[in-house]
């Protein structure tokens, strides 16, 4: 029984911390949003440090000894509020690329920091429920013709390729009949924008795009389980990011209320605020436990119920911790000039991403047959 990072993981975590402390802050984060080349340069540097490889096994050309490695990276990213497409490209799509033809080359490119991929699936949801979608595929010879529009594809703004889910059989809402295709972003039309948390996205339209059978990722009609597994993995990593953010917000807020005086005393002297901090700590530490368990589970037999439990815990805790961090910072907490408000937004997003609290409670109950007659 061990809930600590291995020496190697701790080193990775430290390297993330040190690098970001030097190369990344709120101003840089904002600047990179409008400066794609600079963002790409930073990304390549991160790739060289092995952070992308940390998400792939050695067999795939990466350096991961365990899923915990990427979790450690995500925790560091969460702490430092990194707005780069690690989660949506490396984690979410990296795993799916394994099923693509020529996967070794693709993954190698990704590990080198030269390939961004975005997942265009799950319709208008924030990436849950792959049985829903908006792209139809019509059989044409040995290939398919894709047509449809997704208004929000996370990470598509700077992606080179898209993993696009299309309906090849069955009806909307059925798990069977969803197929993934790898398409070049050059072949689709995009309108780029940013999400409220500063991460990039795009509206993606495909019109009569012909794709060959070699564009197919995974089995025909069988992508839903693959996408679900990829989302589960990404969900756990998003939990890692949130755990990192909470781990930053709590000591930062504690320091703020120790220093900020109102009514002639440090805010920290007010017992109500002390208990808010205690509750934030309770929320953060328990969420961390469940997130770690879900992360450890990624290396073994998939346990989607543990993932849903973790996502629920992390979502609820993250919202609470972020709310109190802002509240205790007062006006400073809502200002864009301070990172607190950006953490608040990102944690709000993570709470919704891959399914919100209610979604995961229901999924947990379904998976564990809670309340079902024997």
């Amino acid at each position: 029984m061990d809930f600590t990072y291995s020496e190697q993981q701790a080193m990775l975590r430290d390297s993330v911390d040190r690098f970001l402390a030097q190369r990344y802050d709120l101003a840089r984060r904002k600047a990179l949003m409008d400066d794609a080349p600079a963002a790409e340069a930073l990304w390549r540097d991160m790739a060289e440090l092995g952070w992308i490889g940390a998400a792939f096994s050695e067999a795939e050309g990466g350096f991961a000894s365990s899923a915990i490695d990427a979790f450690a990276v995500m925790e560091g990213f969460g702490q430092r509020l990194v707005a780069l497409p690690y989660l949506t490209s490396v984690i979410l799509c990296g795993g799916l690329l394994r099923h693509a033809s020529g996967s070794a080359d693709l993954i190698s490119l990704m590990i080198d920091g030269r390939l961004h991929v975005a997942l265009a699936a799950c319709g208008e949801t924030l990436l849950h429920s792959p049985q829903h979608g908006a792209v139809t595929a019509t059989k044409a010879g040995s290939g398919y013709v894709l047509t449809g529009r997704l208004s929000v594809v996370l990470g598509a703004d700077r992606a080179h390729k898209l993993l696009m889910a299309a309906r090849t059989a069955g009806a909307e809402g059925e798990r069977h009949g969803v197929t993934l295709f790898l398409v070049d972003t050059a072949d689709v039309s995009r309108r780029n924008y940013r999400m409220i948390d500063g991460h990039g996205a795009a509206e993606v339209t495909v019109e009569n795009l012909t794709v060959g059978a070699d564009n197919m990722v995974g089995a025909l009609d069988g992508a839903a389980p693959l996408i679900e597994a990829a989302i589960d993995r990404a969900t756990v990593m998003a939990c890692g990011e949130a755990v990192g953010a909470m781990g930053y917000l709590i000591p930062t807020t504690a320091a703020y209320i120790r220093n900020r005086e109102q009514y002639g005393a440090p805010l920290a002297k007010f017992q109500v605020l002390q208990h808010r901090m205690a509750d934030a700590f309770i929320a953060s530490e328990t969420a961390r436990s469940m997130a770690l368990v879900a992360a450890i589970g990624l290396d073994g037999v998939p346990d989607p119920a543990a993932v849903s439990s973790a996502k629920f815990q992390v979502g609820r805790s993250a919202r609470q911790v972020a709310y109190q961090a802002v509240q205790l910072h007062g006006g400073m907490g809502v200002s864009e000039a301070m990172d607190i408000s950006h953490h608040y937004i990102r944690l709000t997003m993570i709470d919704r991403l891959f399914g919100d609290q209610a979604f995961h409670l229901r999924r947990y109950a379904d998976l564990t047959q809670l309340g079902v007659s024997a």
Partner: protein, 393 residues
Amino acid sequence: MDLSIGPEAERLRDEFRAFFDKHLPKDLAAKWRAGAPVSKAEHQDWQRTLNRRGWLGTSWKKEWGGTGWGPLERFIYDEESSAAWAPRLNVPSIDLLGPVLIEFGTEAQKRRYLPPILNSDDWWCQGFSEPQAGSDLAALQMRAVRDGDHYVVSGTKLWTSWAQYANRMFALVRTSADGPKQAGISFLLIDMDQPGVTVSPILTMGGLHAVNEVRVDDVRVPVDNLVGKEGDAWTISKFLLSHERLVGAWIGPSLALMGLLRERLRKPGFDGRPIGADPILRAKAAEVESDLITLRHTAYRVLADELSGREPGPIVSVLKVRGSEIQQVLTDLLVQTGGAQAMVHPQTLTSAPGIAPAEAHLAQQFLDRRKLTIYGGSAEIQRNIIARQIVGV
């Protein structure tokens, strides 16, 4: 007991509805409803429309061009104005400074400042908070040093709402460092269109620009611009607070948001079923509506107390606490109805016809409401106030 507001008030309510229906520009209402930005000119146009009908100075005495209404009329007016999605007015001018000048101002001050408020030529902002004086106003440090017929004012105001639109500011300034902290604070009118006054935007969550930093460097302000006497600011502030009693409950705006939520819950969601078919979301929506109508009736209780001359007591803080929380819950639920589109940053959209305007500002509105439990007497301070009165320590 009796719930009716009486035939006179009911008639007035009908009048309001008819007027808003006819005179509020549809596109302006639609913008406000979507949470999209509204320009200063649009605000002014609308205020002037109201003023032509005589319904701008709703908390002003008739002799100064106001409506002469009591709290009931004002409350109904606010409810109907919100229900029609009329944009909020320049509150600091109309609901704060106006009544203050009428109560405490000199004849000259009234004649000079009240008419340009009503015709919307003047736009005022409220300079209260400072970097070291957030909740604790007594700690404020903007100095006003007497020099002949002028005060020389220096200092920084923070979180000043809509100062970017304002040409004037009423501010709390320190005219004396002696005695109890509160006694040295005065209420001063400052012309912002002069050198030495610098307005810098403060962007808040979601990229909104609603508040500012206002730096005042050695600006000379005529002594005539003092409202009341030196050290009167505390009394004036208390007068202001009593005016804000019911506004802080956000009843009208929340009822309007609830209408929006109800409408959105009827729409089909990502799985084709009505969004509100989800039993958990539905229960949450029912809960917040129940909370809202409950708070509305609590506000009516306060109103009934006011009308019959009873001191409502700590219930006023209840309105503020619950009113803020309900706004936060409502906008949170609205975001939940919007799926992925609700999380798009509207300011980064160029032209994306797929993202409906109805979704585009939901997250911004949610983020904007985050401040409600912080400013104007935080949720913690309101609870301190309640506890002081019921526990008595």
